[in-house]
Amino acid sequence: MTLEVLLQGLIGGLLMGFVYALIAAGLSLIFGLMEIVNFAHGEFLMLAMFATFWAWALAGLDPLLSLPLTAALLFLLGIAVYHGLIRWILGAPMLAQIFATFGLAVFLRSAAQALWGVDFRLVKDPLVSGRISLGGLFIGLPQLVASVGALAAFAFLYWLIRKTETGRALQATAQDRQAAALMGIDTQWMFALGWGIGAACVGVAGGLLTIFFYVFPDVGASFALLAYVAVALGGFGNVPGTLAAGVVVGVVEVMSGLLIAPTLKYVTVFLIYLAVVLWRPQGLFGRF
């Protein structure tokens, strides 16, 4: 196990970590607003990837070019899901909320299979392909672009939440929805917006992933699990926290695979998660 192999692994884990983080960010945002975990988040990712694929297959649009379109589509999906489903379970017990989104996940996954079949789809010859070499270490260009894109999206999200009027309204609603309502902030609209933005994040992640990953109805499941861990690790509701947590997950995944055994890499991720939340139950950066 040479240093070169380890460094290579570190790079790979870092790049993938940013993508995990972006997927998790949407989840964290939604939770911060209304304390609902979206168990259909993986399916949102899947739909974003399919949207990107079809834009390429039918209109010849490269995934990078169709990114704004995908983000917009997912934004609308988030709002639609809020108004169609989430609005009705806001006051319900946690279990009912879990199962509402779980039912949505099963529904979306089956709908995708019914509509598009189970074939694995790949975007061929994207604009970004190949790899660059830095002193013997390889960095896949699609992966690099995906992680840079994820970071950019994160920065945008941060700016949106911290620096804009709307973002501050979102924060206010997350902190104390009654007080925010008293101040004239439309809670319903904030919630819908939260879902829209959260879904758009996943939309961007999906679009970026489609440059180098295959698409099929079940593709969201594996990513979703890691996203949940990342969100909980970073602290539910803490969006910057998920960036750090996503990177941790990505790096631990690859490094433990190299140093311990690939078969145990997720075990290590989960063990680290458990260790962290036992020491700090609210996650690395979460507030209670």
Binding site: G9, G12, G117, R131, G250, A261
Partner: protein
């Protein structure tokens, strides 16, 4: 006197009547179990389509040198047609068991067929054994299935033992041909029943032939990232890589290998992902030179034109909406189903014991098969002894049969071109 005659006539009627009423059945019903949802749904759907094609060939007149093709229905049963009930076992052994039982006891199928995954095939076989109903399996690869002493289980397909043996035979023959010596082997497999079974056999054979397994990687399927796995392979750099992966992970593996510049000299895959028709199409030149074991080869159409005809019919099936080529697993399903129908036909009855006896006596010659086998003939364990595993290599964007050398359509290329030299 009158009463005696009446009694005699009545007695005669009593004997004849049941015979007159005991008509041969109008149809033969077969239960087919496949994974029609979930990860392996593509293979399940393809295999179901292959069965549909087989049913059409049996029930209608076709000018093909295949069992039962030239007639309509089963002549041995007065032209009875075959009807299939398709069932989705969702990849779960307990669902397979429940469905097999339902098919046998509620739907009254005359035989069961399936089920792709060895774990599900196992539970289905147990049910069939319990009820004394023939179960024909066309594609499950676990060697254990024919080692359980089941009377009603028959398998037409080769199993992992055959396949892996062929791989190592090829390795040793290649060494002689090219005057090279391989020392180390790397095994990479999914942590599923298929992957684990495959890896176990490969490990045993490697030890038997004196190759050192320097790296053995098991990974959770549906991985989001294979950087660690490829990193370890690159570090160990075995002479030969033997992967066992389904399509999605196979795609991710090749892409990651390309990214990280991992160049195995020789790659021999345990089919699954590698024989998915879309795999070579999608991956293009990235998989040039990859070898896989494959019980079926489309390029054998050069020697057996019938294969091309069957493939054309398969592509035109109503349920084959994307016009996929027939590939490994569906081709085996096709062959297995025809074998079963042939046996029922020879049994001239739908009685389970008669069908079983007919299966035992099966002897289909090589020219009536689309598979490159020497025929279909079952041994006392229910395993087809006419099987032949072949190896194919991606050459110029399509699979070419390279082994056994006497069946080969092309010469094998060795070693694999490193990534930087691939155009």
């Amino acid at each position: 006197m009158a009463t005696r005659v009446t009694a005699l006539v009545l007695a005669l009627l009593a004997v004849i009547a049941p015979a007159a009423f005991a008509q041969t059945p109008k149809e033969v019903v077969i239960g087919v179990l496949y994974p029609l949802s979930g990860n392996a749904a593509q293979v399940g759907i393809d295999s179901a389509n292959a069965v549909r094609l087989a049913v059409d060939i049996i029930n209608a007149k076709h000018d093909l040198n295949l069992p039962l093709a030239r007639g309509e229905g089963l002549p041995g049963l007065g032209g009875a047609k075959i009807r299939v009930i398709f069932v989705d076992h969702q990849g779960k052994p307990d669902v397979g068991q429940a469905e097999a039982e339902r098919l046998i006891t509620q739907e009254k199928v005359h035989a069961v067929f399936g089920a792709y995954f060895s774990g599900v095939t196992q539970t289905v076989a147990q049910v069939a054994e319990r009820y004394g109903v023939p179960h024909l399996n066309a594609e499950s690869s676990s060697p254990l299935l024919t080692e359980r002493g089941l009377k009603w289980f028959f398998r037409t397909s080769p199993h992992d033992g055959h396949f892996s043996q062929a791989m190592f035979d090829y390795i040793r023959d290649l060494e002689k041909r090219r005057n090279v010596k391989f020392k180390t082997v790397g095994i990479m497999h999914e942590a599923t029943q298929f992957g684990s079974d495959s890896a176990k056999v490969q490990e045993e054979l490697a030890a038997k032939y004196g190759y050192e397994v320097t790296v053995k990687i098991s990974y959770r399927d549906k991985a989001t990232n294979l950087d660690a796995e490829v990193g370890k392979l690159k570090a160990a750099n075995p002479d030969i890589l033997l992967p066992s992966s389904y399509t999605n992970d196979a795609i991710l593996f090749v892409k990651t290998a390309k990214n990280l510049d991992y160049n195995p000299k020789l790659l021999i895959a345990q089919n699954a992902g590698w024989t998915d028709p879309t795999f070579v199409k999608e991956m293009g030149k990235d998989v040039e030179g990859h070898i896989t074991r494959a019980p079926f080869a489309l390029d054998m159409a050069a020697k057996k034109p019938m294969i091309r005809q069957v493939n054309e019919m398969f592509k035109k099936l109503k349920d084959n909406s994307t016009g996929r080529d027939i590939s490994d697993a569906p081709a085996r399903a096709f062959t297995g189903f025809l074998t079963l129908a042939d046996a029922i036909n020879r049994a001239k009855s739908v009685s389970p014991e008669e069908i079983r006896k007919a299966l035992v006596a099966t002897n289909i010659p090589a020219d009536q098969l689309i598979m490159p086998w020497t025929g279909v003939k079952f041994d006392e364990k229910g395993q087809n002894t006419g099987v032949r595993a072949i190896l194919q290599q991606v050459q110029n964007g399509a699979y070419a049969t390279i082994y056994p050398f006497e069946l080969a359509a092309a010469d094998p290329t060795f070693p694999l071109t490193p990534w930087k030299d691939r155009k």
